[in-house]
Each structure stands twice: as C-alpha cells, then as structure tokens.
C-alpha cells in the first residue's frame, strides 16, 4: 500500500523546517534505517531515516524548500508494482496527529498536593506517667520501638553503629539489632542515599541518617529526583517509604558550611513530607509516624535541642500525626508561629511579653509538609496579628509562604502586616560576636510583636 512520508518534527519545539537535501531519488529502493533526506530545524541539520522498506514513488517537496510545516507530505513510498497515485485511494489523507480524545472536566483546583492520612496523635489518657527525656533519647527510643515492630526497618549512615552515632542518637541500637540492621556506611552521602532509595523500592523501610543535613546537599538529587518524584512518575506503582534524618540548622561556631536550616528547601518539594520537631515528645511521636509513613520523609533535628529535656508520655505506642500543629500557649493579642528550634525564641518571647501584658498565642507547626494552615488561620482570625519565627534565611522562607497564605485567606482579619523573623541574609560567620548577630534572637521576636501590636 502506498504511504505518504510526512515532514517530521525533529525537536520538541519544531513546527517547520527546511528540506535541505534528498539523499534518495524516485525509483530508489530503501530499507528501514536508510537516510532519506537532510532536514534543517531551528537547531541543527538532521538526517531523516526511512521507517519501512519500500520504493520511493514520488518526491512531493523539492530539496531546498523552506518553511515546510511538520506533517506535510514530502514523498510517497510504494511497494513493487504500485503507482504513487494509489496513495489517494489506498490510504486516508494524512492529517495532523489524531485529535487527542477529550479528557474529563477538571476537578476543583487545589494549590498544594493533597495530604494523606498519617497515624493519629495518640490520646494521652489522664494519669499517664510522664518521663523526663531528652530529645536525643526520644529519637533513639522511637527508632528502637519501630525496629522491634517491623523487621524491614533498618538504620544506615556514617558512624551510626560502632561509634554509637556521631551525636549519640543511635546509642545502643547496634547491640540490640545487630550489624544487619544498624549499618555503618563509608562517607559517601550521594551513594548511600541512592542505595537507601533503591532499598526502599525493593521493599525495605530505610532510615538514612545524615551526620548533618549540610552533607545531604551531596545527596540532594536522590532525595528530590529519586525519592520524592517516583510515586508520581510511576503512576502510583512505586514509592520510597523511608526517612532521611539528622541534625539541621546552626549548632555553634561551626561556620557557614555547617550552619544552615533547610526547612524551606525541602518544604518546597511535592512528594516529600517534612518534619521539624521541637519537643522530645514530638520528636518521638513524629519519628515513629515518619518510619511508618509510606512516603519519603525529611526529619530535621537540631543539635542544640538534642540535650534538652521534656516530658514524654510513658506509653507503649505514642505517635503524633503529620499536618497537625500544636498550640503551646493560648493568647489573644498576637499569633506567633514557629517550629523546631524557632520555638525556643517564640516561647521565651511569649513569656517576656506576658510580663508586659501582651498575651501571645504560640503555635508549633511541627510539620512543614503538610502544614496545618487551619490552626494558623483560626488563630489569626482571633488575634488579628501574626509573627513567624524560623532560623533559616529570609528569602523564600517558610514564613514568606505563611504570610502569603494568611494574606489570601484572612486578609480582612489582619490589623497589621505579618512579620517574618528569620536568620540574617548572610552565610554564617565564625566570629562569636558576628555569629550571634546572624542568628535569630528572642529580642527580635519581642520587637516584632511590639511592632504589630503598636506598642
């Protein structure tokens, strides 16, 4: 059957091109793969190959023709004994690519990806014993409990096993679970993050510890491109149920490369969960939820908080859900939203402000993806003022996003602009006095509150 050869699209953006040269003539027999012509696109001159065997029956577009539209017939191929004129009768007239079947009407647009269910916050029954626990111990307890519960959970990272953790988070785990499940890696973040993702694809639930999140920059491609996007790219067939965890943010006097808060970076990515706990109870309950979650979770800890003690309920299985903020302090004059170590400044500021008669409501977001907007908006509708507090850089911060959200959804309730308290827009300096200046302070939060309450 005679078939028409159409002008091909040879790049993602090509709409027309120049048929620079024919390399075959009428009557030539060609087989698949033979080069028929040279075609000049907007970017390059390309060779155009035959897809099938046949005889060049007729050349329709002469060489040298410019502006030949994609899908224009340029030649007719025939088989032995056929005439090129058979084309009209034998084959339907060529058309542009067949119209794409209509898809259904769009559903209600959402601005962020829908969140899925995570374990509920365990109700703490009245009379439950509380145990004073450091954040460090709470994290270890969470991992140990989940490793006892599920054989597929394992921990890998630098110095997590024999050294007992660079920050002693994994203390005792090697003894209890053995070297099959508590694995020291070479110093090779890119590689072991990728191995972790592959292990998760293969049916395990890895906990990948980064000695600090600064080093996770080396592994960023696997976190974003391999872990976060695979469920979507596979149409839901495959995913990476795993936790990337480690200390994040400034410690003390470790300079620019070791002092950065990555909360906003990861919160940017659909497909990731992002958790940034403050208290030991939340560290424990959220890490247990993270290990059980079927999505890749970024779990941002903080070195300064590791040694801080909090009450943790003594319960068999204490979990905290994602996307549910915690109100640490109720107040009517201003809403202070924070998470992670930012809560230290937020709570200190609220204490100081209370002495001056300003009642601040302090909200701990606990997770940055998903974010509990509802709790924030409801609070702002009550207080009419909002300050956000985070240690990260100011540009494209989580606070910026919250301010935009509040402006969109509670504009009429605002009596003052939302102020974002953040770290300064500089790489972290080493000198003690400069480092102090670069970091967020409680005084800055107090000043911001005073500014929006016009005091």
């Amino acid at each position: 059957m005679a078939t028409e050869i159409l002008m091909p699209a040879l790049s993602p953006t090509m709409e027309e091109g120049t048929l620079s040269k024919w390399l075959v003539k009428e009557g030539d027999t060609v087989s698949s793969g033979d080069i028929l012509a040279e075609i000049e696109t907007d970017k390059a001159t390309m060779e155009f190959e035959a897809v099938d065997e046949g005889i060049v029956g007729k050349i329709l577009i002469a060489e040298g023709s410019e502006g030949v539209l994609v899908n224009t017939p340029i030649a007719v191929m025939v088989e032995e004994g056929e005439s090129p004129d058979d084309v009209a009768a034998a084959a339907p007239a060529p058309t542009a690519p067949s119209p794409i079947p209509a898809a259904a009407a769009p559903t209600t647009p959402a601005t962020v990806a829908p969140a899925s269910a995570t374990p509920a916050e365990t109700d703490i029954p009245a009379g439950t014993d509380m145990k004073t626990t450091t954040v460090r111990e709470a994290l270890r307890d969470a991992m140990a409990e989940e490793m006892r519960r599920d054989e597929t959970v394992f921990l890998m990272g630098e110095e997590v096993a024999e050294y007992q953790g660079a920050y002693k988070i994994s203390q005792g785990l090697l003894d209890e679970f053995g070297s099959k499940r508590v694995i020291d890696t070479p110093i090779t973040e890119h590689g072991f993050a990728g191995i972790g993702v592959g292990a998760a694809f293969g049916g395990l639930r890895p906990i990948v510890e980064f000695m600090t999140f600064n080093f996770a920059m080396q592994a960023m491609d696997h976190i974003i491109n391999s872990a976060a996007k695979t469920r979507y790219m596979s149409g839901g067939q495959m995913s990476a149920p795993m936790v990337f965890r480690g200390p994040n943010g400034a410690a003390a006097r470790v300079g620019a490369q070791h002092s950065q808060d990555y909360g906003a970076w990861y919160a940017h990515i659909p497909g990731l969960r992002v958790v940034q706990p403050y208290s030991a109870a939340d560290a424990k309950g959220l890490l247990k939820s993270a290990i059980r979650d079927d999505n890749p979770v970024i779990f941002l800890e903080n070195e300064i908080l590791y040694g801080r003690s909090f009450d943790v309920p003594v319960m068999d299985d204490y979990t905290v859900p994602f996307g549910k903020a915690k109100i640490w302090r109720e107040g009517s004059d201003v809403t202070i939203v924070s998470w992670g170590i930012g809560m230290t400044y937020a709570l200190e500021a609220a204490d100081e402000l209370a002495k001056e008669g300003v009642q601040a409501e302090v909200i701990d977001l606990r997770t940055l993806r998903p974010i509990d907007y509802e709790t924030v908006i409801r609070s702002v509708q009550k207080t009419n003022r909002c300050i956000t507090v985070e240690e990260g850089f100011p540009v494209a911060s989580v606070g910026n996003h919250l301010a935009a959200k509040i402006m969109t959804e509670a504009f009429d309730y605002l009596d003052a602009p939302v102020i974002n308290c953040t770290g300064k827009d500089v790489p972290m300096p080493y000198a003690a006095n400069l480092e102090k200046l670069a970091l967020l302070t409680t005084k800055e939060v107090i000043d911001a509150v005073k500014s929006v309450t016009y005091r």
Binding site: M14, P114, G194, G198, A199, S234, G235, P241
Partner: protein
C-alpha cells in the same frame, strides 16, 4: 554479512535463536515506530532510541531468573520490552496517555513495572546505579536470592556516584550486576574524548569487583557473560561488572543530528556487526529457519508494533484529576 565467530554457538538452540531474533526485532521495530510517532508530534519531549543495542538486553534477560530486578537510564524502551512489559503500555506512555505504564505521567524516561521487577526509567545520568545497588541490598536483606541488573552507559560511567555504589556493593557483597552499555558516545562525546582509562570494567578492580568486556553485538556472547555474572552474584560473591561494547545507530535523542561521527562509521557497524543480522545469519546458515519463516516473524512483529501504535493513539489522555494523584501514599 560476514560470518562472525560467536563465543558460544553450541550453548543455544533453534528455539532460543528464534526467540532472540523475535525479541530483538520487536525492540527495533518498536523503536522505529516510536521515532515515526515522534516525527508526527504524537510523542513529545525527549525520546532516546535503543536501535543497535538490542542484543545487550535480550542476551542478559536470557540469563535472568524470575524475581530478578532491573533498573536503567532514560534509554529504557528496549529494557522494558525485553523483560516482558506490554508494548502497548510502553507506547501509550510515550504518547502520554492513560493506558501508559505510568498513566501518562512519566513519559519515555520514567516508566516502571512492579510486576516485571522493572524499577525505571531514570532521567538523571547514573542515578540508577546506587539505586540498583540498593535494590540488591534489599534482596540480600530479605534473602530473596535475586540479582539486580543495573544498566548504565559509558557516559554515566564517569559519574562519581557509580564509584560510591561500587565501593559499597563490594563492601556489603550485594548481588548486583553493573552493566556498562558502552555504545561509545555519551551524547556527542566519544569515549576517547571523555577518559584516558583504557577500559571501563577494569575500574572495578580498584574496589575488588571482577568483570569483563563483552561483544554486545553478539547476543550469545552477552547471554554467556550474563550467566557467568549471575552465578557469581548468586554464589554470594558480591557484584560483577560487564562492559558490553555496543553501538547506537540513532542520535542520542530525537533532536540530535549526530554530527560527531561519520555516516560511514554508522553504516559500517550496521553492515558488518548488526546483532539482528547476526542471529538471522545463524538461523539461516544453521538451517534452523528459512527466509519464509523469518518473513513470517517479521510480519508478526510488525502487527504487534502496529497494534501498540494504534493503542497509543486511541488511549485517551489522562483525566485532569490525575494531576493531583500519586503524589503521596493514601494511607
């Protein structure tokens, strides 16, 4: 075609040769059709064809057992067809339709099949190498006895993460075969212009990983090497490297004019070393098949490919609500 010495001519059968012929031809015809659909604007974006390299995946799949895993780069259509994925689902993914393996949301470079243990389809050069080691890690941890075929090109072989993966794979004795598909060009840069190291498989020695070079235009040689490599892995001896010398007939992607090599160079490989012609020759000279038998196979394959193409045009685009699904697990 000149008779070529095949390493393991005895280690095959008429049935196997016919199967190899059929599978390699399916990949070639499928890719030619994909190129055609791209030219018609039905396939968008990047599209990397596998034409010329067919013997690599077909030979190695002959050495695989049920449950073995495979992971590769963005030049992935051949791997999917060779492991038994449905040509219709692959082609419909290329056209971005709901009948595609990823419901149209992945495209040429991002397809997966849990059922066939195909773990992608990865668009970042060499990212699949640690992932493949990780799949093998899971096999070892779960004691499945499986092996993971981790495919990457000569271009990817210069990425640092390959060597991070080598180091850990050998350290932990992971059952992974690192398959370097050396088609001699990393996009437009020839191997000679990207490294002075004389062979790529030998780099494994630095980590204690054995390996060998294989003629990738000889499907029987590939299969034999695959059997050796899988035996090594299954014996608990850790990873193995196969550097398979092959050749890509088409450009790097559909928009590559391939000016970095001569037409004669390509033509010479096609005429003298083509992997499909090689098997065809073995079938005919061995009197395993007649010209007519092979013509009948050609016809069957053509029908399969045409059916896939039709399906890929008729399958509707994904529902618009699909934009918001498969981002997070539902539970």
């Amino acid at each position: 075609m000149a008779a070529r010495k095949s390493a393991n001519k005895s280690n095959t059968s008429k049935e196997e040769l016919l199967e190899f012929y059929r599978e390699m031809l399916l990949i070639r015809r499928f890719e030619e059709k994909a190129g055609q659909l791209y030219g018609m604007g039905l396939i968008g974006g990047f599209c990397h064809l596998y034409i010329g390299q067919e013997a690599v995946v077909v030979g190695l799949e002959a050495a695989a057992k049920d449950g073995d895993k495979r992971v590769t780069s963005y030049r992935d259509h051949g791997h999917m067809l060779a492991c038994g994925m449905d040509p219709k689902g692959v082609m419909a993914e290329l056209t971005g339709r709901e009948g595609g393996y990823s419901k149209g949301k992945g495209g040429s470079m991002h397809m997966f099949s849990k059922e066939k243990h195909f773990y992608g389809g990865h668009g970042i050069v060499a990212a699949q190498v640690p992932i493949g080691a990780g799949l093998a890690f899971a096999d070892k941890y779960l004691e499945t006895g499986g092996v993971t075929f981790t495919y990457f090109g000569d271009g990817a072989a210069n990425q640092g993460q390959v060597y991070e993966a080598y180091n850990m794979a050998e350290l932990w004795d992971l059952p992974v075969i690192f398959v370097i598909e050396n088609n001699q060009y990393a996009m437009g840069t020839s191997v000679q212009r990207s490294t002075k190291s004389p062979s790529m498989w030998e780099r494994g020695a630095a980590y204690g990983i054995p390996g060998e070079e294989v003629d990738g235009m000889d499907v029987l040689a590939v299969k034999a090497a695959g059997e050796k490599a899988t035996a090594h892995c299954r014996a608990g001896k850790g990873p193995y490297i196969l550097e398979i010398k092959t050749y890509r007939y088409r450009g790097h992607s559909m928009s590559d004019p391939a000016k970095y090599r001569t037409r004669e160079e390509v033509q010479k490989v096609r005429e003298e070393r083509d992997a499909i012609e090689h098997v065809r020759d073995l079938l005919l000279t061995g009197k395993h098949a007649t010209e007519d038998d092979l013509k009948a196979i050609d016809k069957d394959i053509k029908a399969v490919v045409n059916e896939a193409a039709e399906f890929s045009k008729e399958s509707p685009e994904p529902q618009l609500s699909e934009l918001w699904t498969d981002i997070y697990a539902d539970a």
